[in-house]
């Protein structure tokens, strides 16, 4: 009976993997970067074709929310692209299924495009047992504190420095909120409710697990995690200088709510990554926004959450050499030059490739005072636990209680202990 069922199933599925004779001069790239400013696809393809004439590049751009649904359908359906962009969080799934090409040999024979040419912490995420399965595209830690100098001046508060700790930030936040009057805050964070909490969790020396690459137990119930969470809650509910998740949610969602507050001069400081500046460069320029590394509890122990994407070559690709050629252009300086040309005020996602990043740092950027904090922060980033089922564990163990912990319904220590016990049960 099993046999019969499996045969029918295998029939449907296998029919699909009967490989189509693929055009050897065509490369298919799957990405979620839209056709406009950031990736600069058209310029890139032109530059690539100048070097490798006759190669047809088809870029398939899918909105982020449905990207995996489409990519997985294509892979399962035997119509997979050659090069795929994969976000850091689902990356372990892809790396563990033996479907990605090991890029280490390619890197070894490509002078000027070795692993050393990338920020170490980023490369690390996409390397399993010494094999590089993905090359990072962007370098965007959730570690920048953008601030509005005019509000600092109006409130008579000294502008932040990279050496600020939480206590200085909290004091400034209170003063800014008071000076701003009705509906004003000092600080907000422009990520999801969970992402915003992570900024404090990591910044206060806490975290989800003891070792991101090989977790053995949860550290959500450590004194550091508890104190960090409590600090965040106090800023929201005692000082009222940071908007609560609920109030951000009613302003259109956690991230738009904070962005709106910041861009309208209702919050003097915003902690988030470079992408926020890239989304509204004109406004950032007009406001004269400046940036420092986000304050942490103890500057000797900096940790920041991060996002980011890597590109990989699928094993099923019939054209791996050409795919590698394209990756070198796309993820190297040429790709970012093409993006820069189409960008507004030079606002692009900062490259993970160090030569490209250095080149970008020398270009004219009008929307921000400095790129240095972004580069500095890269040394302190921490990704989500490298586990096949981390997103499921997080959804099972953290989501059900996080809102109650953050709004004070559940005492912090009790809530975090419950989450830690749940995570430990899954490990």
């Amino acid at each position: 009976m099993h046999r019969l069922g499996l045969t029918v199933l295998a029939g449907t599925l296998l029919l699909s993997s009967a490989a189509f004779a693929q055009d050897s001069n065509k490369l298919v790239v799957a990405s979620f970067y839209p056709v406009d400013k950031v990736a600069g696809w058209n310029g890139l393809i032109e530059a690539f074709n100048a070097k490798y004439p006759g190669v047809e590049i088809e870029v398939q751009v899918t909105p982020q929310d449905q990207y995996l649904a489409k990519l997985l359908s294509q892979i399962a359906g035997g119509d997979a692209p050659d090069i795929v962009g994969i976000e850091n969080s689902p990356f372990p799934q892809f790396a563990n299924r033996n479907i990605l090409e090991d890029l280490t040999p390619y890197l070894e024979k490509s002078p000027g495009f070795t692993l050393d040419a990338f920020f170490t912490h980023l490369i690390d995420r996409y390397t399993v047992e010494g094999k590089a399965y993905g090359i990072p595209y962007d370098a965007q830690p959730n570690a920048l504190m953008f601030y509005n100098p005019a509000l600092f001046q109006a409130a008579g508060v000294a502008e932040p420095t990279a050496e600020w700790t939480w206590d200085q930030m909290r004091e400034a936040s209170k003063q800014l909120a008071t000076a701003g009057g009705e509906g004003a805050y000092g600080l907000c964070m422009s990520s999801s409710a969970k992402g915003n909490w992570e900024v404090f969790l990591y910044g206060g020396g806490g975290g989800y697990v003891d070792d991101v690459k090989a977790p053995t137990k949860s550290t959500l119930d450590t004194p550091e995690s508890i104190a960090a969470t409590q600090y965040y809650i106090d800023m929201m509910y005692t000082d009222k200088s940071v908007p609560t998740s609920e109030s951000l949610e009613s302003m259109g969602g956690a991230d738009q709510g904070c962005t709106s507050l910041f861009l309208n001069g209702k919050a003097g400081m915003m902690i988030i990554g470079m992408w926020k500046a890239v989304e509204a460069p004109e406004k950032f320029r007009d406001m004269g926004v400046k940036v420092v590394m986000a304050p942490v509890k103890d500057t000797a122990k900096r940790v920041y959450p991060t996002g980011g994407t890597a590109y990989s070559i699928l094993k099923s690709s019939k054209n791996k050499e050409m795919a590698w050629n394209f990756m070198q252009e796309f993820l190297g300086q040429a790709g970012f030059e093409a993006a820069y040309k189409e960008a507004t005020l030079g606002a692009i996602y900062p490259p993970a490739n160090i030569p490209a990043f250095d080149w970008y740092a020398t270009q004219k950027i009008e929307f921000l005072d400095s790129l240095k904090p972004n580069a500095d922060a890269l040394a302190y980033i921490r990704f989500a636990p490298f586990m096949l089922n981390w997103s499921e564990i997080s959804s099972n163990c953290i989501d059900p209680d996080l809102d109650f912990v953050l709004n004070g319904t559940t005492p912090v220590a009790e809530g975090l202990s419950k989450m830690a016990a749940c995570v430990n049960g899954e490990l």
Binding site: T12, L13, L15, S16, V28, F32, Y33, P34, V35, D36, V38, E58, Q60, V61, T62, P63, Q64, D65, Q66, A69, K70, L72, S73, Q74, A76, G77, G78, D79, D138, G183, S250, M251, G252, G253, D255, Q256, G257, T259, S260, L263, N264, G273, W275, K276, E279, A280, K283, G307, T309, Y349
Partner: protein
């Protein structure tokens, strides 16, 4: 008596007006949001007039996606599907409503049952089929699976056909008319309002359809509007709401027009077909 009627009428209109106001609000909101700059969009309390008014969102739409082409794609696949569904689903509905054949009831339940399986799980198998036909990235990928009728349209038309008294066909039967004649000359004219309803609903459904065209279409030139706009509005770290709203305004307008045109059919259809029971 007269005053009572007047009061009822005023109350009725008051309730209807309130409903109408709340129904118009999101539409109005779409239009003004599409004219706003980003930092103005999520301010509380909301700002009713865009200040400054910007056309940046519309410019982006026309610059970065082949808007005219994607509009044509959407129109072409939608009209084709709707035409096919009207013809083939009304045929199927006739069989279910009027013909007696073994297994009719289980077959009808089977049709209904296919509507009850969430499309998430049929996505990949359906993708594989369409790929086997070599339809990926062609109009056929979108049209093919629906052109010969859908369970939804057949179900709806069957229900309407059941409402029609069978006596109306007796005369034709006595004259020795076959099923095709009865279907074409008696039933189809009678279900005109239902056809208008199915036509409008299918039009809206396929015009707005998102996940399926997203999965089977790859190139910008072949994308339908919903997918093209979502692609442009989505960035890695969030959504460009202004662009999305500008796109929504332009996507919804044709639907509103179609509905306005068809509603006469829906409202007046039966009254003019001379259905006298």
């Amino acid at each position: 008596m007269k005053t009572r009627r007047l009061v009822t009428s005023i109350l009725l209109h008051a309730v209807l007006l309130l409903g109408a106001f709340s129904a118009l609000l999101p539409f109005f909101w779409m239009v003004i949001t599409s004219l706003k700059v980003p930092e103005q969009m999520f301010v509380m309390p909301p700002q009713w007039l865009p200040e400054p008014v910007t056309f940046r969102n519309y410019e982006q739409l026309f610059t970065y996606i082949p808007f005219a082409r994607q509009f044509f794609n959407t129109l072409f696949v939608t009209v084709t599907i709707v035409a096919g569904q009207l013809l083939f689903s009304s045929m199927g509905a006739y069989a279910f409503a009027r013909l007696k054949f073994p297994g009719r009831e289980p077959l009808f339940l089977l049709f209904l049952a296919t509507l009850m399986v969430p499309s998430v799980v049929t996505l990949i198998p359906a993708f594989i089929l369409v790929r086997e036909f070599g339809w990926i990235n062609t109009y056929m990928a979108i049209i093919g699976p629906y052109f010969l009728g859908s369970a939804f349209a057949t179900f709806l038309l069957r229900q309407f056909m059941l409402t029609i008294p069978e006596e109306l066909e007796e005369a034709a039967k006595i004259d020795g008319a076959g099923h095709f004649t009865i279907f074409r000359a008696v039933i189809l004219p009678l279900v005109k309002p239902a056809l208008a309803v199915v036509g409008v609903f299918s039009f809206i459904y396929f015009w707005n359809d998102f996940l399926w065209p997203l999965v089977v279409i790859n190139s910008e030139a072949m994308k339908v509007l919903t997918v093209g706009i979502a692609t442009l509005a989505s960035s890695h770290y969030g959504t460009d709401w202004g662009v999305l709203m500008a796109g929504s305004v332009l996507t919804v307008l044709p639907l509103v027009i179609v509905f306005f045109l068809a509603q006469r059919q829906i409202v007046e259809g039966i009254a003019t077909t001379g259905l006298k029971g």
